[in-house]
């Protein structure tokens, strides 16, 4: 089996670690496990993982604190595992630099897809100038987007929004992150603009705007652009 790299699992639940261990090993990853935050930090420094799966509810420390400490020197992907109904924690984690999140209970297929995407994104050094998502193509240098080969009439804000989401394909972006990037620092509370522009953008880029396939909503957290291919 190929070696896809080392993944560190920081979770206090033995059963979750065991499940992840079995699943990930079967998919060619090496596994290191930590049951506490402290142990996790040590292993992160010593085992050079390509990705860390971090549970927010740890016995010895707040997962967010661990994330903060990790992000001081660890720049590879971190995926958050958390229980449901903790949107605040998830948003905080994403804003603190987590790459993605999954809520327990989760489907292992989904987790594997997220892991692959995160590793791929972190490894591809060069930005592609043209992004293609089925019938939609986005030309980043020329600020144009085509749907079925026809140039879409996009306002500059719409294009910035589309470009930001598309560049981070497959990855969830929080409302705050998007508003900060597209509108600027003063607009991080103005979610109504974001909603309106997302609705407008969907009308232009989606086959059926009422059943979006590209620009997906993450309830209470933000948006995610579907993966290409």
């Amino acid at each position: 089996m190929t070696n896809e790299g080392n993944i560190l699992i920081i979770d206090d639940e033995v059963q979750i670690r065991r499940l992840l261990g079995i699943t990930l090993s079967a998919n060619g990853y090496l596994i290191s496990e930590a049951a506490t935050g402290k142990e996790g930090l040590v292993l992160a420094a010593t085992t050079h993982p390509v990705l860390i799966i971090l549970d927010l509810g740890l016995p010895d420390a707040d997962g967010l604190d661990i994330l903060k400490k990790l992000r001081e020197w660890y720049f590879k992907p971190v995926i958050i595992l958390s229980v449901r109904n903790a949107e605040d924690d998830i948003i905080n984690a994403l804003d603190l630099g987590a790459n993605d999140y999954l809520t327990k209970p989760f489907r292992t297929g989904e987790l594997l897809a997220r892991i692959r995407l995160a590793i791929r994104q972190s490894q591809s050094g060069v930005d592609k100038p043209i992004l293609v998502f089925g019938s939609l193509s986005i030309d980043l240098p020329n600020h144009t987007a085509r749907k079925n080969n026809e140039i879409l009439k996009l306002t500059s804000t719409e294009f910035s929004l589309l470009a930001l989401l598309a560049k981070n394909e497959g990855r969830v972006l929080t409302h705050t992150q998007i508003l900060k990037e597209v509108w600027g620092y003063g607009y991080t509370e103005q979610t109504q603009y974001l909603r309106v522009f997302v609705a407008q953008l969907r009308k232009k880029i989606e086959d059926d705007p009422s059943r979006p396939k590209l620009l997906l909503t993450e309830s209470g957290i933000g948006y995610r652009f579907a993966e290409s291919s």
């Binding site: 449901r84 109904n85 949107e87 209970p105 306002t155 500059s156 804000t157 409302h175 979610t191 109504q192 603009y193 909603r195 309106v196 522009f197 997302v198 609705a199 407008q200 705007p209 009422s210 059943r211 979006p212 909503t217 309830s219 209470g220």
Partner: protein, 895 residues
């Protein structure tokens, strides 16, 4: 005559039974009673106690004054003595009996010397007898000593005999209600001998005492008084005994005295005399004050308060009645209460007006009283003089400004009259002035009107009556007219101001009635302790201008130190809280302006309900309440207490109900959850077990994996529901609204329910002009999710489910419709209840989904209604008030 059949009066019998019952729980009071100091009361008490102690009784000394008498000091030895507490005082320190220590020690009997003693400031009670009452209430017996001159009803007579005014007195009631009285008697000769031997006081003091107080005549008089009191008591005891045992005998009962008092110092004498009479007659006694239009001066008010206080101290039931006619009021009251004897004081002649009315006071009383006997007591000459001096000074309560205004109006009008005097003639002008004075009387008090009348008479004389500019009057008819003018002006003024006073009084009474009515109305509309407290506070502020703090009892029937409601200005110290606790326990008021702990800053009133005490209210009176105000206040407090009691009882029954309900809920939950958990768990266990233990073809394995998956999804949904429910139950659901595109909501729901919706056609209907709405996305998503899921569970496969979202001005409306069986009409109200399951519900529901819908919608201040559709199926309609933001406006502002 009444009671010819010699049968006990049932009322009296009941009273005696009640008294007996009351007494059995309380400690017994034994009084060692003597004519004066030095007869050996303390010694006798100690001797009795000693013999009891030898018999094995737990007796200790609370407080004993030995006065350094060697034989007494000898007797004290061997007794346990409760240490006294020291109160620091300006002039040094004073040692007092430690009441709390005695109660805590709870002996069988405690010795407390000198019952009439006045406690040092800072003690709980002003008087020692109050301490004793508290000890008795705690079931401890008390031995105590008392001299005849300390009895309230005798103090005046003693003062008359000996010339010494006794300050330390106590209510006769205490003496009358004592369980045992032992007379400690010495003959006059024996006492004088003891005195001269120095057994009572030191030799120098003895000589002094013999010369002043202990004169032979004095002692004999006091001795006779003491003997008579004890004899009367024995007589009364016999009477009580006969009544209890229903022994027929020559009753004196059925006699009922009514003593009418007023605001004169004479009334104190009247009260004492009547009390003595009632005691020796064995009669019931009541006192009555008739409130008339007469405006009491502060001194009269003070005397009246004193009289009322005395009546209460003497144990006389007291009533106030308002009536213009004193005689009528007395007679009507007497007839209603079956009074047999009316006692009044001889009326004093005060002025012309009173003479006209009161001159026939006695005659009228006698005429109207019918078969009721009337006693008339003469006035004390000294008191009369004092009294006369007081009332002869008229009370001018109007302020300077009123006098000035009246003078100014008269002056201005005079100028006007002067101008027209030649046309009108001076006689007509007199009418004008008279008219003016009458008008002024409507607005101003007696004083200013007196001034107006005098002034206008002088002006008329000086300026108008010829010869002008002199006070001299030539014609006799003018003279007559001037006199008449003055009298008419004066009478007019006085009568009008009298009417005004009456009006004011009626207005005050009306206001009070109205206030009480409003209070009752507001209280009955209120619910919850807090709201009741707020209303109480508001009314007390409004009508008494007082700040208050309310303390209520807790579930364990103790006064909670948690103040339910309090004005920020009132901060109760630890000490004051303990006073509140005392008030609560004893259901009598204490604090400022009362006999108990008067040195504190607040007055504490018990909130007494019909069955038990509800709590305590503390207010800061800056003055003593007048009689009328006190009654008004008590009515107020009783309304408030009643409401608190109702609230309390309601809470109690509600708690019991809730407990019952939660018990039921607990059982339902257990039944439902255990079933719901077991099914998926058994599926997972069974399927995985099969997979682990046998080799099966790939196809079978895949089916088993599928079952495990389905079971875990079901389990997960159950957990989600339970979590949401518990969040709702704990009240931790607070929506965090954000701007939402409702299309997003619909997408999310249909996406998440892809699996379940496979067999159905879901139509989402959202108008194109739908604005953004400000809601909690997650919560509303869950709401729609549950409703659509519910529809899939109850509709036939292939049917259409509609999800309609629209808005009507500021209302977000969400409708979910299906073509299922709908609901039985009788169950429409209960579909949102926890664990409600339709009769034909398919397996896999917990009955939580819809109650979560309701909870989340209500957290948004919205409503949810279930209905049956006309052509079959269920219709859920949710209405949530929201902020909206139209889409087109937002885009225009940006690009």
């Amino acid at each position: 005559m009444e009671n010819t059949d010699n049968r006990p009066d049932p009322d009296e019998l009941l009273a005696s039974l009640r008294q007996e019952e009351e007494k059995s729980k309380r400690g017994k009071l034994k009084i060692f009673f003597g004519m004066c100091a030095g007869v050996g009361k303390t010694y006798t008490m100690l001797k009795t106690a000693r013999s009891e102690k030898i018999k094995g009784s737990d007796i200790l000394i609370g407080v004993i004054e030995t006065h350094k008498r060697p034989e007494t000091e000898e007797m004290v030895e061997g007794f346990e003595i409760v240490p006294r507490i020291t109160y620091e005082y300006k002039t040094g320190h004073v040692q007092e009996m430690d009441l709390d220590a005695i109660i805590a020690r709870k002996p069988h009997t405690v010795l407390v010397d000198e019952l009439a003693h006045t406690n040092a400031p800072g003690s709980r009670h002003t008087k020692r007898y109050q301490d004793v009452l508290e000890i008795l209430e705690n079931g401890i017996n008390v031995y105590t000593t008392l001299n005849v001159q300390h009895l309230e009803s005798r103090s005046e007579t003693v003062a008359q005999i000996t010339g010494i005014v006794v300050r330390e007195t106590l209510p006769d009631e205490i003496f009358e209600n004592a369980d045992e009285v032992e007379l400690v008697d010495l003959t006059t000769i024996e006492l004088l001998q003891r005195l001269s031997e120095g057994k009572v006081y030191s030799p120098e003091r003895s000589r002094e005492a013999i010369e002043n107080f202990f004169r032979e005549g004095n002692i004999t008089a006091l001795r006779e008084m003491a003997l008579r009191i004890v004899a009367d008591r024995v007589d009364k005891q016999l009477h009580d005994y006969m009544q209890q045992k229903r022994i027929r005998g020559p009753w004196k009962s059925g006699l009922h005295l009514l003593v009418a008092i007023d605001y004169s110092p004479n009334s104190t004498r009247l009260l004492r005399w009547a009390k003595n009479l009632s005691y020796s007659m064995g009669a019931v006694i009541q006192a009555l004050y008739v409130e008339t239009l007469h405006k009491l001066t502060p001194r009269e008010r003070e005397q009246l308060d004193k009289n009322i206080k005395l009546a209460r101290q003497l144990g006389i039931k007291f009533r106030i009645i308002t009536n213009i006619d004193v005689v009528k009021a007395i007679v009507e009251f007497a007839q209603k209460e079956n009074v047999t004897h009316i006692i009044v004081g001889k009326p004093r002649v005060r002025n012309l007006q009173s003479m006209l009315q009161l001159g026939n006071f006695v005659n009228r009383l006698i005429r109207y009283s019918g078969n009721i006997d009337v006693y008339i007591l003469g006035a004390d000459s000294k008191a009369k003089d004092k009294y006369r001096k007081k009332v002869s000074v008229p009370s001018f309560t109007s302020n300077i400004r009123q006098y000035l205004i009246v003078s100014l109006i008269i002056a201005l009008s005079t100028i006007g009259f002067y101008v027209i005097k030649d046309i009108a003639g001076y006689q007509v002008i007199s009418f004008g002035l008279l008219f003016l004075v009458s008008i002024l009387a409507i607005f101003y008090g007696t004083g200013p009107i007196l001034l107006a009348a005098t002034l206008s008479a002088l002006i008329w004389d000086f300026l108008f009556i010829p010869p002008q500019f002199t006070l001299h009057i030539e014609q006799p008819e003018d003279m007559l007219m001037l006199v008449m003018f003055f009298i008419i002006a004066l009478l007019n003024g006085i009568l009008t101001s009298r009417v005004r006073r009456q009006e004011k009084k009626i207005r005050v009474r009306e206001e009070r009635t109205h206030a009480l009515y409003q209070l009752t109305r507001d209280l009955s509309a209120a619910s919850g302790i807090l709201e009741v407290s707020k209303i109480a506070d508001r009314y007390i502020k409004k009508y008494f201008n007082l700040d208050c703090a309310i303390l209520l009892k807790n579930d364990s029937n103790l006064l909670d130190n948690q103040i339910v409601h309090s004005d920020p200005k009132i901060i109760l110290t630890e000490n004051e809280l303990s006073i509140a606790a005392w008030v609560f326990k004893h259901s009598s008021k204490a604090g400022k302006h009362t006999d108990t702990l008067p040195s504190t800053g607040y007055t504490f009133y018990p909130l007494t309900g019909s069955n038990e005490n509800m709590g305590v209210i503390a207010v800061e009176h800056n003055r003593l309440l007048t009689q009328g105000e006190e009654q008004f206040w008590e009515a107020f407090i009783s309304q408030i207490s009643g409401k608190f009691e109702r609230e309390y009882l309601r809470n109690v029954s509600k708690k019991a109900y809730l407990l019952n309900e939660s018990d039921k809920l607990y059982k339902t939950l257990f039944n439902s959850i255990s079933h719901e958990l077991r099914i998926p768990v058994s599926t997972i266990m069974g399927a995985s077990d099969t997979l682990l233990s046998h080799q099966y073809p790939e196809e079978t394995k895949l089916k088993l994996y599928g079952e495990i998956n389905t079971a875990s999804v079901r389990l997960n949904r159950l957990i989600e529901n339970l979590l949401n429910m518990s969040r709702l139950e704990s009240g931790r659901i607070t929506p965090r609204p954000d701007w939402c595109d409702v299309q997003d909501l619909a997408n999310k729901v249909s996406d998440n329910l892809k699996q379940e919706l496979q067999l159905f056609r879901l139509s989402v209907i959202i108008p194109s002009t739908m604005p953004l709405v400000f809601i909690d996305f997650g919560l509303i998503e869950q709401v729609i999710h549950n409703l659509v899921l519910n529809a899939t569970q109850h509709s036939p496969a292939g049917s259409r489910i509609r999800l309609k979202i629209f808005h009507d001005s500021d209302l977000l409306i969400i409708q979910v419709m299906d073509r299922g069986p709908g609901f039985p009409e009788s169950e429409l109200m209960s579909v949102f209840n926890k664990f409600y399951r339709g009769k034909d519900a398919i397996a896999g529901g917990t009955g939580l989904g819809l109650s979560i819908v309701k909870g989340f919608v209500e957290a948004h201040h919205g409503t949810v209604v279930a209905e049956n559709r006309q052509n079959g199926g269920a219709l859920f309609t949710i209405k949530i008030p929201v902020k909206t933001a139209p889409l087109d406006q937002l885009t225009k502002t940006e690009d």
